[in-house]
Protein backbone atom coordinates (compact mmCIF):
# COMPACT_ATOMS: atom_id res chain seq x y z
CA UNK A 1 0.00 0.00 0.00
CA UNK A 2 2.75 2.43 1.00
CA UNK A 3 4.70 1.51 -2.12
CA UNK A 4 1.61 2.08 -4.23
CA UNK A 5 1.05 5.49 -2.66
CA UNK A 6 4.63 6.50 -3.19
CA UNK A 7 4.46 5.39 -6.82
CA UNK A 8 1.25 7.31 -7.42
CA UNK A 9 2.70 10.41 -5.83
CA UNK A 10 5.76 10.06 -8.08
CA UNK A 11 3.44 9.81 -11.08
CA UNK A 12 2.02 13.23 -10.25
CA UNK A 13 5.41 14.82 -10.84
CA UNK A 14 5.17 14.79 -14.67
CA UNK A 15 1.66 16.24 -14.38
CA UNK A 16 2.84 19.15 -12.26
CA UNK A 17 5.91 19.59 -14.45
CA UNK A 18 3.85 19.88 -17.63
CA UNK A 19 1.39 22.22 -15.99
CA UNK A 20 4.23 24.38 -14.76
CA UNK A 21 5.61 24.66 -18.29
CA UNK A 22 2.18 25.50 -19.71
CA UNK A 23 1.64 28.17 -17.09
CA UNK A 24 5.09 29.63 -17.37
CA UNK A 25 4.92 29.91 -21.14
CA UNK A 26 1.38 31.30 -21.03
CA UNK A 27 2.31 34.14 -18.75
CA UNK A 28 5.50 34.95 -20.61
CA UNK A 29 3.73 34.80 -23.96
CA UNK A 30 1.40 37.56 -22.81
CA UNK A 31 1.68 40.69 -24.97
CA UNK A 32 3.75 43.19 -23.03
CA UNK A 33 5.05 40.56 -20.63
CA UNK A 34 4.33 40.31 -16.93
CA UNK A 35 5.08 43.99 -16.23
CA UNK A 36 2.55 45.34 -18.71
CA UNK A 37 0.42 46.81 -15.94
CA UNK A 38 3.35 49.01 -14.84
CA UNK A 39 4.24 50.07 -18.38
CA UNK A 40 0.82 51.66 -18.79
CA UNK A 41 1.14 53.49 -15.46
CA UNK A 42 2.45 57.06 -16.05
CA UNK A 43 3.81 57.18 -12.49
CA UNK A 44 6.25 54.38 -13.21
CA UNK A 45 9.33 55.54 -15.10
CA UNK A 46 11.38 53.55 -17.60
CA UNK A 47 14.16 53.16 -15.03
CA UNK A 48 11.71 51.75 -12.52
CA UNK A 49 10.63 49.13 -15.02
CA UNK A 50 14.25 48.23 -15.73
CA UNK A 51 14.88 47.94 -12.01
CA UNK A 52 11.74 45.79 -11.51
CA UNK A 53 12.70 43.59 -14.44
CA UNK A 54 16.03 43.01 -12.80
CA UNK A 55 14.51 42.41 -9.38
CA UNK A 56 12.08 39.81 -10.72
CA UNK A 57 14.77 38.28 -12.92
CA UNK A 58 12.77 39.16 -16.04
CA UNK A 59 15.91 40.31 -17.89
CA UNK A 60 17.27 36.75 -17.97
CA UNK A 61 16.71 34.35 -20.90
CA UNK A 62 13.43 32.40 -20.65
CA UNK A 63 14.86 28.94 -19.88
CA UNK A 64 16.92 30.44 -17.04
CA UNK A 65 13.85 32.26 -15.79
CA UNK A 66 11.95 28.97 -15.84
CA UNK A 67 14.68 27.12 -13.90
CA UNK A 68 14.89 29.84 -11.27
CA UNK A 69 11.11 29.95 -11.02
CA UNK A 70 10.83 26.16 -10.77
CA UNK A 71 13.55 25.78 -8.16
CA UNK A 72 11.84 28.48 -6.11
CA UNK A 73 8.52 26.66 -6.39
CA UNK A 74 10.14 23.44 -5.24
CA UNK A 75 11.17 25.31 -2.11
CA UNK A 76 7.58 26.49 -1.69
CA UNK A 77 8.34 30.00 -2.90
CA UNK A 78 5.90 31.10 -5.58
CA UNK A 79 7.27 34.62 -5.63
CA UNK A 80 5.47 37.78 -4.66
CA UNK A 81 2.35 39.49 -5.87
CA UNK A 82 3.08 42.18 -8.46
CA UNK A 83 0.75 44.54 -6.64
CA UNK A 84 0.73 43.94 -2.90
CA UNK A 85 4.26 42.45 -2.87
CA UNK A 86 3.08 39.85 -0.38
CA UNK A 87 4.44 36.33 -0.80
CA UNK A 88 2.07 34.39 -3.06
CA UNK A 89 1.85 31.44 -0.70
CA UNK A 90 0.71 33.69 2.12
CA UNK A 91 -2.16 35.07 0.02
CA UNK A 92 -3.12 31.64 -1.30
CA UNK A 93 -2.97 29.86 2.06
CA UNK A 94 -5.23 32.53 3.52
CA UNK A 95 -7.92 31.49 1.03
CA UNK A 96 -7.26 27.75 1.04
CA UNK A 97 -9.43 26.79 4.07
CA UNK A 98 -12.60 28.34 2.59
CA UNK A 99 -12.12 26.37 -0.64
CA UNK A 100 -11.32 23.13 1.23
CA UNK A 101 -14.44 23.43 3.40
CA UNK A 102 -16.60 24.18 0.38
CA UNK A 103 -15.16 21.27 -1.58
CA UNK A 104 -15.38 18.87 1.35
CA UNK A 105 -19.00 19.78 2.06
CA UNK A 106 -19.86 19.42 -1.64
CA UNK A 107 -18.20 15.99 -1.73
CA UNK A 108 -20.13 14.80 1.32
CA UNK A 109 -23.36 16.07 -0.24
CA UNK A 110 -22.56 14.36 -3.57
CA UNK A 111 -22.25 10.96 -1.92
CA UNK A 112 -24.87 11.26 0.77
CA UNK A 113 -27.58 12.52 -1.58
CA UNK A 114 -26.65 10.74 -4.80
CA UNK A 115 -26.09 7.20 -3.55
CA UNK A 116 -29.31 6.72 -1.51
CA UNK A 117 -31.32 8.38 -4.30
CA UNK A 118 -29.87 6.09 -6.96
CA UNK A 119 -30.24 2.92 -4.90
CA UNK A 120 -33.82 3.79 -4.00
CA UNK A 121 -34.72 4.48 -7.64
CA UNK A 122 -33.06 1.24 -8.72
CA UNK A 123 -34.85 -0.87 -6.10
CA UNK A 124 -38.21 0.68 -6.97
CA UNK A 125 -37.77 0.64 -10.70
CA UNK A 126 -40.79 1.88 -12.63
CA UNK A 127 -42.47 3.32 -9.55
CA UNK A 128 -43.68 6.89 -9.20
CA UNK A 129 -40.65 7.99 -7.17
CA UNK A 130 -38.29 6.36 -9.65
CA UNK A 131 -39.91 8.32 -12.47
CA UNK A 132 -39.72 11.51 -10.42
CA UNK A 133 -36.04 10.97 -9.59
CA UNK A 134 -35.21 10.18 -13.21
CA UNK A 135 -37.11 13.20 -14.47
CA UNK A 136 -35.37 15.62 -12.12
CA UNK A 137 -31.90 14.17 -12.49
CA UNK A 138 -32.24 14.29 -16.30
CA UNK A 139 -33.16 17.95 -16.13
CA UNK A 140 -30.53 18.79 -13.50
CA UNK A 141 -27.97 17.06 -15.69
CA UNK A 142 -28.59 19.61 -18.44
CA UNK A 143 -28.98 22.80 -16.41
CA UNK A 144 -25.82 24.76 -15.56
CA UNK A 145 -25.79 24.39 -11.77
CA UNK A 146 -24.15 27.73 -11.10
CA UNK A 147 -27.02 29.34 -13.01
CA UNK A 148 -29.45 27.41 -10.84
CA UNK A 149 -27.58 28.95 -7.90
CA UNK A 150 -28.27 32.39 -9.39
CA UNK A 151 -31.97 31.53 -9.74
CA UNK A 152 -32.10 30.47 -6.09
CA UNK A 153 -30.36 33.72 -5.15
CA UNK A 154 -33.07 35.62 -7.08
CA UNK A 155 -35.77 33.73 -5.21
CA UNK A 156 -34.20 34.23 -1.78
CA UNK A 157 -33.41 37.90 -2.44
CA UNK A 158 -36.94 38.63 -3.60
CA UNK A 159 -38.47 36.76 -0.66
CA UNK A 160 -36.26 38.89 1.58
CA UNK A 161 -37.49 42.04 -0.18
CA UNK A 162 -41.13 41.04 0.16
CA UNK A 163 -41.17 39.62 3.68
CA UNK A 164 -37.94 40.74 5.30
CA UNK A 165 -36.96 37.13 6.06
CA UNK A 166 -33.69 35.73 4.75
CA UNK A 167 -34.30 32.00 4.48
CA UNK A 168 -30.69 31.08 3.72
CA UNK A 169 -27.60 33.26 3.43
CA UNK A 170 -26.67 33.82 -0.23
CA UNK A 171 -23.26 35.45 0.05
CA UNK A 172 -20.11 35.43 2.16
CA UNK A 173 -19.01 33.27 5.08
CA UNK A 174 -20.52 35.04 8.07
CA UNK A 175 -23.40 37.21 9.11
CA UNK A 176 -22.59 40.90 8.77
CA UNK A 177 -21.52 42.53 12.02
CA UNK A 178 -20.36 39.29 13.59
CA UNK A 179 -16.76 39.58 14.67
CA UNK A 180 -15.76 36.27 16.23
CA UNK A 181 -15.78 32.98 14.31
CA UNK A 182 -18.97 30.98 14.86
CA UNK A 183 -18.88 27.42 13.44
CA UNK A 184 -22.67 27.18 13.23
CA UNK A 185 -22.90 30.48 11.38
CA UNK A 186 -20.18 29.26 9.00
CA UNK A 187 -22.05 26.02 8.30
CA UNK A 188 -25.23 28.03 7.75
CA UNK A 189 -23.48 30.11 5.11
CA UNK A 190 -21.83 27.04 3.63
CA UNK A 191 -25.12 25.20 3.04
CA UNK A 192 -26.30 26.70 -0.24
CA UNK A 193 -22.94 27.07 -2.04
CA UNK A 194 -21.91 23.53 -1.06
CA UNK A 195 -25.23 22.08 -2.18
CA UNK A 196 -25.01 23.79 -5.56
CA UNK A 197 -21.34 22.84 -6.07
CA UNK A 198 -22.24 19.28 -5.08
CA UNK A 199 -25.22 19.08 -7.46
CA UNK A 200 -23.14 17.93 -10.41
CA UNK A 201 -21.77 15.17 -8.19
CA UNK A 202 -24.98 13.86 -6.69
CA UNK A 203 -26.86 13.96 -9.98
CA UNK A 204 -24.11 11.91 -11.66
CA UNK A 205 -23.79 9.52 -8.71
CA UNK A 206 -27.57 9.12 -8.57
CA UNK A 207 -27.84 8.24 -12.27
CA UNK A 208 -24.93 5.80 -12.16
CA UNK A 209 -26.07 4.25 -8.90
CA UNK A 210 -29.53 3.57 -10.32
CA UNK A 211 -28.29 1.73 -13.39
CA UNK A 212 -25.64 -0.15 -11.40
CA UNK A 213 -28.21 -1.22 -8.81
CA UNK A 214 -30.43 -2.56 -11.61
CA UNK A 215 -27.45 -4.38 -13.08
CA UNK A 216 -26.45 -5.99 -9.77
CA UNK A 217 -30.05 -6.91 -8.87
CA UNK A 218 -30.21 -9.13 -11.95
CA UNK A 219 -27.19 -11.20 -10.95
CA UNK A 220 -27.15 -14.71 -9.57
CA UNK A 221 -25.58 -13.96 -6.20
CA UNK A 222 -28.46 -11.63 -5.37
CA UNK A 223 -30.96 -14.37 -6.19
CA UNK A 224 -28.93 -16.77 -4.04
CA UNK A 225 -28.90 -14.28 -1.19
CA UNK A 226 -32.67 -13.97 -1.37
CA UNK A 227 -33.05 -17.73 -1.78
CA UNK A 228 -31.13 -18.53 1.36
CA UNK A 229 -33.55 -16.35 3.26
CA UNK A 230 -31.51 -13.21 3.94
CA UNK A 231 -33.53 -10.20 4.99
CA UNK A 232 -34.13 -7.60 2.29
CA UNK A 233 -32.08 -5.09 4.29
CA UNK A 234 -29.07 -7.38 4.40
CA UNK A 235 -29.27 -8.17 0.70
CA UNK A 236 -29.49 -4.50 -0.22
CA UNK A 237 -26.75 -3.21 2.06
CA UNK A 238 -24.31 -6.08 2.02
CA UNK A 239 -24.67 -7.42 -1.50
CA UNK A 240 -26.29 -4.91 -3.83
CA UNK A 241 -24.92 -1.66 -2.48
CA UNK A 242 -21.41 -3.00 -2.03
CA UNK A 243 -21.19 -4.15 -5.66
CA UNK A 244 -23.03 -1.25 -7.20
CA UNK A 245 -20.62 1.17 -5.50
CA UNK A 246 -17.59 -0.07 -7.44
CA UNK A 247 -18.22 1.70 -10.76
CA UNK A 248 -19.46 4.76 -8.90
CA UNK A 249 -16.15 5.07 -7.09
CA UNK A 250 -14.30 4.97 -10.39
CA UNK A 251 -16.13 8.07 -11.60
CA UNK A 252 -15.32 9.86 -8.32
CA UNK A 253 -11.93 10.87 -9.68
CA UNK A 254 -13.53 12.91 -12.44
CA UNK A 255 -15.98 14.41 -9.98
CA UNK A 256 -13.16 15.58 -7.69
CA UNK A 257 -11.37 17.30 -10.56
CA UNK A 258 -14.69 18.87 -11.55
CA UNK A 259 -15.20 20.19 -8.01
CA UNK A 260 -11.80 21.82 -7.98
CA UNK A 261 -12.22 23.14 -11.50
CA UNK A 262 -15.68 24.54 -10.84
CA UNK A 263 -14.78 26.20 -7.53
CA UNK A 264 -14.12 29.55 -9.23
CA UNK A 265 -17.64 29.82 -10.67
CA UNK A 266 -19.45 28.88 -7.48
CA UNK A 267 -17.23 31.08 -5.33
CA UNK A 268 -18.05 33.95 -7.68
CA UNK A 269 -21.81 33.26 -7.60
CA UNK A 270 -21.96 33.02 -3.81
CA UNK A 271 -19.21 35.57 -3.02
CA UNK A 272 -17.31 32.80 -1.23
CA UNK A 273 -13.83 34.05 -0.30
CA UNK A 274 -11.87 31.01 -1.47
CA UNK A 275 -9.01 30.42 -3.89
CA UNK A 276 -11.30 30.53 -6.92
CA UNK A 277 -12.23 34.13 -6.24
CA UNK A 278 -8.62 34.95 -5.48
CA UNK A 279 -7.79 33.55 -8.92
CA UNK A 280 -10.44 35.76 -10.55
CA UNK A 281 -9.39 38.88 -8.66
CA UNK A 282 -5.69 38.31 -9.36
CA UNK A 283 -6.19 37.40 -13.02
CA UNK A 284 -8.33 40.48 -13.65
CA UNK A 285 -5.49 42.60 -12.26
CA UNK A 286 -2.97 40.54 -14.29
CA UNK A 287 -1.27 39.62 -11.02
CA UNK A 288 0.04 36.39 -12.54
CA UNK A 289 2.27 35.10 -9.72
CA UNK A 290 -0.91 34.77 -7.63
CA UNK A 291 -2.88 33.18 -10.51
CA UNK A 292 -0.14 30.63 -11.05
CA UNK A 293 0.12 29.87 -7.35
CA UNK A 294 -3.63 29.24 -7.21
CA UNK A 295 -3.70 27.00 -10.29
CA UNK A 296 -0.76 25.04 -8.87
CA UNK A 297 -2.56 24.43 -5.59
CA UNK A 298 -5.74 23.57 -7.53
CA UNK A 299 -3.81 20.99 -9.53
CA UNK A 300 -2.33 19.45 -6.39
CA UNK A 301 -5.82 19.27 -4.86
CA UNK A 302 -7.17 17.58 -8.01
CA UNK A 303 -4.31 15.08 -7.98
CA UNK A 304 -4.91 14.31 -4.28
CA UNK A 305 -8.62 13.87 -5.02
CA UNK A 306 -7.85 11.33 -7.74
CA UNK A 307 -5.51 9.52 -5.39
CA UNK A 308 -8.23 9.43 -2.75
CA UNK A 309 -10.67 7.88 -5.20
CA UNK A 310 -8.06 5.23 -6.10
CA UNK A 311 -7.68 4.33 -2.44
CA UNK A 312 -11.46 4.21 -2.04
CA UNK A 313 -11.62 1.92 -5.03
CA UNK A 314 -9.44 -0.63 -3.25
CA UNK A 315 -11.51 -0.28 -0.12
CA UNK A 316 -14.83 -0.83 -1.90
CA UNK A 317 -13.54 -3.65 -4.08
CA UNK A 318 -11.30 -5.99 -2.05
CA UNK A 319 -10.36 -7.84 -5.26
CA UNK A 320 -8.19 -4.85 -6.19
CA UNK A 321 -4.63 -5.31 -5.01
CA UNK A 322 -2.09 -2.55 -4.87
CA UNK A 323 1.34 -3.63 -5.88
Amino acid sequence: MTRYLVRRLLQTIPVLFIISIIQFSLVNAAPGGPLKAYMLDPNVSQEDIKRLEHEYGLDQPLPIQYLVWMSNILRGDFGRSYFTHRPVMEAVMERLPATIWLGLAATIISYSVGIPLGVYAGLHRGGKIDHLIRFFTSILNAVPHWWLGLVIIILLANIKLATGVMLLPIAGVKTLGKEEFDPLDYLWHLALPAFMLGTGGWVTFGRYMRSETLEVLGQDFVRTAYAKGLAERVVVFRHVLRNALIPVVTISAGIFVGLVSGAAIYEQVFSWPGMGRLLLEATLKKDYPISIGVVFIFTILAVLGRLMSDIMYGWVDPRIRYD
Binding site: A29, V269, S291, T299
Partner: protein, 308 residues
Amino acid sequence: MATPGNTSPAPKHESLDELVLKRPARSFWSDAWQRFLRDRLAVMGGVIFLALCVLAIAAPLISQSITKYDPNRINLLDTYQPPSDKHWFGADEYGRDYFTRIVWAGQISLSIGFLFAAVSLSIGVVFGLAAGFYGGWIDDLLQAVINIFNAIPFLPLLIIIGSLVKLGWVELAMILSLLGWTGASRQVRGLVLSIKQRDYVLAARTVGASDARIMFQHILPNVFSIVLVIVGFDVASAILTESGLSFLGFGVQPPTATWGNMLSNSLQYTTKAPWLILFPGLTISFTVLSVFLLADGLRDAMDPRLRK
Protein backbone atom coordinates in the same frame (compact mmCIF):
# COMPACT_ATOMS: atom_id res chain seq x y z
CA MET B 1 -55.92 -26.12 -77.59
CA ALA B 2 -57.18 -23.64 -75.20
CA THR B 3 -56.10 -24.37 -71.72
CA PRO B 4 -57.07 -22.49 -68.59
CA GLY B 5 -53.42 -21.92 -68.05
CA ASN B 6 -53.25 -19.55 -71.00
CA THR B 7 -55.85 -17.23 -69.62
CA SER B 8 -54.09 -16.55 -66.37
CA PRO B 9 -50.40 -17.27 -66.37
CA ALA B 10 -49.49 -14.04 -64.67
CA PRO B 11 -50.89 -14.53 -61.15
CA LYS B 12 -48.65 -17.51 -60.59
CA HIS B 13 -45.54 -15.39 -61.14
CA GLU B 14 -46.89 -12.60 -59.03
CA SER B 15 -47.44 -14.86 -56.10
CA LEU B 16 -43.87 -16.14 -56.43
CA ASP B 17 -42.57 -12.57 -56.32
CA GLU B 18 -44.63 -11.95 -53.25
CA LEU B 19 -43.18 -14.99 -51.62
CA VAL B 20 -39.61 -13.95 -52.29
CA LEU B 21 -39.72 -10.22 -51.62
CA LYS B 22 -42.39 -9.73 -49.03
CA ARG B 23 -40.44 -7.04 -47.17
CA PRO B 24 -37.31 -5.28 -48.39
CA ALA B 25 -34.27 -5.88 -46.21
CA ARG B 26 -33.52 -3.02 -43.90
CA SER B 27 -30.04 -1.60 -43.62
CA PHE B 28 -28.48 -0.82 -40.24
CA TRP B 29 -29.20 2.86 -40.72
CA SER B 30 -32.84 2.58 -41.74
CA ASP B 31 -33.38 0.15 -38.90
CA ALA B 32 -31.79 2.56 -36.43
CA TRP B 33 -33.85 5.38 -37.89
CA GLN B 34 -37.08 3.41 -37.41
CA ARG B 35 -36.20 2.72 -33.80
CA PHE B 36 -35.23 6.33 -33.24
CA LEU B 37 -38.62 7.49 -34.53
CA ARG B 38 -40.36 5.27 -31.98
CA ASP B 39 -38.49 7.00 -29.12
CA ARG B 40 -40.76 9.96 -28.48
CA LEU B 41 -38.45 11.79 -26.06
CA ALA B 42 -35.53 11.57 -28.47
CA VAL B 43 -37.63 12.85 -31.38
CA MET B 44 -38.82 15.71 -29.18
CA GLY B 45 -35.21 16.53 -28.29
CA GLY B 46 -34.26 16.46 -31.96
CA VAL B 47 -37.13 18.74 -32.97
CA ILE B 48 -36.39 21.26 -30.21
CA PHE B 49 -32.69 21.30 -31.04
CA LEU B 50 -33.40 21.71 -34.74
CA ALA B 51 -35.79 24.56 -33.97
CA LEU B 52 -33.14 26.30 -31.84
CA CYS B 53 -30.61 25.96 -34.66
CA VAL B 54 -33.08 27.33 -37.21
CA LEU B 55 -33.85 30.28 -34.91
CA ALA B 56 -30.14 31.02 -34.57
CA ILE B 57 -29.50 30.79 -38.31
CA ALA B 58 -32.52 32.98 -38.99
CA ALA B 59 -31.34 35.62 -36.48
CA PRO B 60 -30.82 38.35 -39.11
CA LEU B 61 -34.30 37.71 -40.53
CA ILE B 62 -35.88 37.74 -37.07
CA SER B 63 -34.07 40.92 -36.23
CA GLN B 64 -35.20 42.54 -39.47
CA SER B 65 -38.80 41.55 -39.77
CA ILE B 66 -40.15 40.12 -36.52
CA THR B 67 -38.67 41.90 -33.53
CA LYS B 68 -37.36 44.91 -35.51
CA TYR B 69 -34.45 45.35 -33.08
CA ASP B 70 -30.74 45.38 -33.69
CA PRO B 71 -29.05 43.11 -31.11
CA ASN B 72 -26.38 45.69 -30.24
CA ARG B 73 -28.39 48.89 -30.58
CA ILE B 74 -28.36 50.80 -27.28
CA ASN B 75 -31.61 52.47 -26.29
CA LEU B 76 -31.34 54.17 -22.93
CA LEU B 77 -35.08 54.83 -22.75
CA ASP B 78 -35.74 51.11 -22.48
CA THR B 79 -33.19 50.07 -19.83
CA TYR B 80 -34.31 47.21 -17.57
CA GLN B 81 -37.72 46.93 -19.28
CA PRO B 82 -39.58 43.86 -17.98
CA PRO B 83 -40.90 41.35 -20.53
CA SER B 84 -43.82 42.83 -22.51
CA ASP B 85 -45.32 42.98 -26.02
CA LYS B 86 -42.58 45.39 -26.99
CA HIS B 87 -39.70 43.37 -25.53
CA TRP B 88 -40.67 39.69 -25.27
CA PHE B 89 -37.80 38.83 -22.94
CA GLY B 90 -37.39 42.36 -21.56
CA ALA B 91 -34.46 44.68 -22.21
CA ASP B 92 -31.03 44.77 -20.57
CA GLU B 93 -29.05 47.53 -18.83
CA TYR B 94 -28.43 49.27 -22.17
CA GLY B 95 -32.03 48.89 -23.29
CA ARG B 96 -31.12 46.26 -25.88
CA ASP B 97 -33.93 43.86 -26.78
CA TYR B 98 -33.15 40.66 -24.90
CA PHE B 99 -34.99 38.23 -27.17
CA THR B 100 -33.14 39.50 -30.24
CA ARG B 101 -29.85 39.23 -28.37
CA ILE B 102 -30.58 35.67 -27.25
CA VAL B 103 -31.37 34.64 -30.83
CA TRP B 104 -28.14 36.21 -32.11
CA ALA B 105 -26.17 34.80 -29.20
CA GLY B 106 -27.43 31.38 -30.28
CA GLN B 107 -25.36 31.69 -33.45
CA ILE B 108 -22.17 32.08 -31.43
CA SER B 109 -22.95 29.61 -28.66
CA LEU B 110 -24.12 26.87 -31.04
CA SER B 111 -21.20 27.51 -33.41
CA ILE B 112 -18.78 27.07 -30.51
CA GLY B 113 -20.52 23.79 -29.72
CA PHE B 114 -20.32 22.47 -33.30
CA LEU B 115 -16.79 23.69 -33.98
CA PHE B 116 -15.62 22.16 -30.71
CA ALA B 117 -17.29 18.86 -31.61
CA ALA B 118 -15.74 18.86 -35.10
CA VAL B 119 -12.19 19.71 -34.06
CA SER B 120 -12.00 17.71 -30.83
CA LEU B 121 -13.51 14.69 -32.57
CA SER B 122 -11.08 14.89 -35.46
CA ILE B 123 -8.18 14.87 -33.02
CA GLY B 124 -9.80 12.29 -30.76
CA VAL B 125 -10.79 9.90 -33.55
CA VAL B 126 -7.35 9.98 -35.17
CA PHE B 127 -5.53 9.33 -31.88
CA GLY B 128 -8.08 6.80 -30.68
CA LEU B 129 -7.97 4.93 -33.99
CA ALA B 130 -4.18 4.86 -34.11
CA ALA B 131 -3.80 3.86 -30.43
CA GLY B 132 -6.45 1.16 -30.63
CA PHE B 133 -5.20 -0.22 -33.94
CA TYR B 134 -1.43 -0.19 -33.39
CA GLY B 135 -1.27 -0.52 -29.61
CA GLY B 136 2.33 -0.50 -28.37
CA TRP B 137 4.07 2.78 -27.70
CA ILE B 138 1.42 4.88 -29.46
CA ASP B 139 -1.16 3.51 -27.08
CA ASP B 140 1.09 4.03 -24.04
CA LEU B 141 1.74 7.59 -25.11
CA LEU B 142 -1.96 8.28 -25.58
CA GLN B 143 -2.79 6.82 -22.17
CA ALA B 144 -0.08 8.95 -20.54
CA VAL B 145 -1.35 12.09 -22.25
CA ILE B 146 -4.94 11.30 -21.25
CA ASN B 147 -3.87 10.72 -17.64
CA ILE B 148 -2.13 14.07 -17.52
CA PHE B 149 -5.03 15.89 -19.17
CA ASN B 150 -7.54 14.32 -16.81
CA ALA B 151 -5.62 15.59 -13.80
CA ILE B 152 -5.65 19.22 -14.93
CA PRO B 153 -8.39 21.49 -13.63
CA PHE B 154 -9.20 23.20 -16.92
CA LEU B 155 -11.38 26.10 -15.92
CA PRO B 156 -8.65 27.88 -13.89
CA LEU B 157 -6.26 27.42 -16.82
CA LEU B 158 -8.89 28.79 -19.23
CA ILE B 159 -9.35 31.79 -16.96
CA ILE B 160 -5.64 32.64 -17.25
CA ILE B 161 -5.70 32.10 -21.03
CA GLY B 162 -8.81 34.27 -21.30
CA SER B 163 -7.06 37.11 -19.49
CA LEU B 164 -3.95 36.87 -21.69
CA VAL B 165 -5.68 36.90 -25.06
CA LYS B 166 -8.99 38.42 -26.04
CA LEU B 167 -10.86 35.33 -27.17
CA GLY B 168 -13.16 35.30 -30.16
CA TRP B 169 -15.52 32.37 -30.52
CA VAL B 170 -13.27 30.53 -32.97
CA GLU B 171 -10.22 30.81 -30.72
CA LEU B 172 -12.27 29.72 -27.73
CA ALA B 173 -13.63 26.67 -29.55
CA MET B 174 -10.10 25.77 -30.69
CA ILE B 175 -8.65 26.02 -27.18
CA LEU B 176 -11.52 23.98 -25.77
CA SER B 177 -10.88 21.33 -28.45
CA LEU B 178 -7.16 21.15 -27.70
CA LEU B 179 -8.01 20.49 -24.06
CA GLY B 180 -11.11 18.39 -24.53
CA TRP B 181 -10.43 15.72 -27.15
CA THR B 182 -9.35 12.99 -24.72
CA GLY B 183 -12.85 11.73 -23.93
CA ALA B 184 -13.60 10.93 -27.56
CA SER B 185 -10.21 9.31 -28.14
CA ARG B 186 -10.67 7.01 -25.15
CA GLN B 187 -14.08 5.83 -26.34
CA VAL B 188 -12.93 5.33 -29.92
CA ARG B 189 -9.84 3.46 -28.74
CA GLY B 190 -11.93 1.08 -26.66
CA LEU B 191 -14.22 0.35 -29.57
CA VAL B 192 -11.37 -0.12 -32.05
CA LEU B 193 -9.72 -2.62 -29.68
CA SER B 194 -12.77 -4.86 -29.94
CA ILE B 195 -13.48 -4.30 -33.64
CA LYS B 196 -9.97 -5.15 -34.79
CA GLN B 197 -10.41 -8.69 -33.44
CA ARG B 198 -13.40 -9.33 -35.71
CA ASP B 199 -13.24 -11.79 -38.58
CA TYR B 200 -13.84 -9.28 -41.35
CA VAL B 201 -10.74 -7.37 -40.30
CA LEU B 202 -8.78 -10.61 -40.45
CA ALA B 203 -10.33 -11.28 -43.87
CA ALA B 204 -9.30 -7.85 -45.13
CA ARG B 205 -5.79 -8.43 -43.88
CA THR B 206 -5.67 -11.83 -45.56
CA VAL B 207 -6.44 -10.37 -48.97
CA GLY B 208 -3.62 -7.90 -48.43
CA ALA B 209 -5.37 -4.67 -47.46
CA SER B 210 -3.07 -1.98 -46.11
CA ASP B 211 -3.29 -0.71 -42.54
CA ALA B 212 -4.77 2.58 -43.73
CA ARG B 213 -7.39 0.77 -45.79
CA ILE B 214 -8.38 -1.45 -42.88
CA MET B 215 -8.57 1.51 -40.51
CA PHE B 216 -10.54 3.84 -42.72
CA GLN B 217 -12.53 1.40 -44.84
CA HIS B 218 -13.36 -1.30 -42.33
CA ILE B 219 -12.99 0.02 -38.80
CA LEU B 220 -13.94 3.70 -39.05
CA PRO B 221 -17.47 3.12 -40.44
CA ASN B 222 -18.17 0.84 -37.48
CA VAL B 223 -16.99 3.48 -35.04
CA PHE B 224 -19.21 6.05 -36.70
CA SER B 225 -22.30 5.35 -34.64
CA ILE B 226 -20.54 6.07 -31.36
CA VAL B 227 -18.92 9.15 -32.88
CA LEU B 228 -22.36 10.50 -33.75
CA VAL B 229 -23.39 10.14 -30.11
CA ILE B 230 -20.20 11.82 -28.88
CA VAL B 231 -20.96 14.78 -31.18
CA GLY B 232 -24.13 15.37 -29.18
CA PHE B 233 -22.46 15.29 -25.79
CA ASP B 234 -19.56 17.41 -27.09
CA VAL B 235 -21.85 20.14 -28.42
CA ALA B 236 -23.59 20.27 -25.04
CA SER B 237 -20.43 20.27 -22.96
CA ALA B 238 -18.83 23.03 -25.04
CA ILE B 239 -21.93 25.21 -24.64
CA LEU B 240 -21.84 24.63 -20.88
CA THR B 241 -18.11 25.37 -20.57
CA GLU B 242 -18.38 28.49 -22.72
CA SER B 243 -21.26 29.75 -20.61
CA GLY B 244 -19.33 29.28 -17.37
CA LEU B 245 -16.19 30.92 -18.69
CA SER B 246 -18.06 33.84 -20.27
CA PHE B 247 -20.09 34.29 -17.08
CA LEU B 248 -16.80 34.87 -15.26
CA GLY B 249 -15.85 37.40 -17.94
CA PHE B 250 -12.99 35.41 -19.51
CA GLY B 251 -14.79 33.95 -22.51
CA VAL B 252 -16.15 35.64 -25.63
CA GLN B 253 -16.08 39.39 -25.03
CA PRO B 254 -19.03 41.79 -25.33
CA PRO B 255 -20.60 43.36 -27.33
CA THR B 256 -20.71 39.98 -29.15
CA ALA B 257 -23.46 38.22 -27.24
CA THR B 258 -23.22 34.59 -26.17
CA TRP B 259 -25.60 32.86 -23.79
CA GLY B 260 -22.80 32.83 -21.22
CA ASN B 261 -21.62 36.43 -21.36
CA MET B 262 -25.21 37.69 -21.23
CA LEU B 263 -25.07 36.37 -17.65
CA SER B 264 -21.78 38.03 -16.77
CA ASN B 265 -23.27 41.00 -14.92
CA SER B 266 -26.10 38.95 -13.53
CA LEU B 267 -25.29 39.32 -9.82
CA GLN B 268 -26.32 42.98 -10.15
CA TYR B 269 -29.74 42.07 -11.54
CA THR B 270 -31.03 39.68 -8.88
CA THR B 271 -33.72 42.00 -7.55
CA LYS B 272 -33.75 44.69 -10.26
CA ALA B 273 -34.26 42.55 -13.35
CA PRO B 274 -34.32 38.82 -12.61
CA TRP B 275 -35.56 38.00 -16.13
CA LEU B 276 -32.14 39.00 -17.45
CA ILE B 277 -30.78 35.99 -15.54
CA LEU B 278 -33.65 33.63 -16.26
CA PHE B 279 -33.85 33.74 -20.07
CA PRO B 280 -30.24 33.02 -21.09
CA GLY B 281 -30.00 30.23 -18.52
CA LEU B 282 -33.29 28.71 -19.63
CA THR B 283 -32.10 28.81 -23.24
CA ILE B 284 -28.84 27.05 -22.31
CA SER B 285 -30.75 24.46 -20.31
CA PHE B 286 -33.25 23.79 -23.12
CA THR B 287 -30.48 23.44 -25.67
CA VAL B 288 -28.41 21.09 -23.55
CA LEU B 289 -31.43 19.04 -22.49
CA SER B 290 -32.61 18.64 -26.09
CA VAL B 291 -29.13 17.59 -27.23
CA PHE B 292 -28.89 15.06 -24.38
CA LEU B 293 -32.29 13.57 -25.23
CA LEU B 294 -31.32 13.39 -28.90
CA ALA B 295 -27.93 11.80 -28.20
CA ASP B 296 -29.40 9.32 -25.70
CA GLY B 297 -32.03 8.34 -28.25
CA LEU B 298 -29.44 7.92 -31.00
CA ARG B 299 -27.30 5.75 -28.76
CA ASP B 300 -30.23 3.49 -27.94
CA ALA B 301 -31.37 3.38 -31.56
CA MET B 302 -27.93 2.36 -32.80
CA ASP B 303 -27.21 -0.16 -30.05
CA PRO B 304 -27.75 -3.57 -31.66
CA ARG B 305 -28.16 -5.16 -28.24
CA LEU B 306 -31.36 -3.19 -27.66
CA ARG B 307 -32.83 -4.40 -30.96
CA LYS B 308 -36.19 -6.06 -30.58
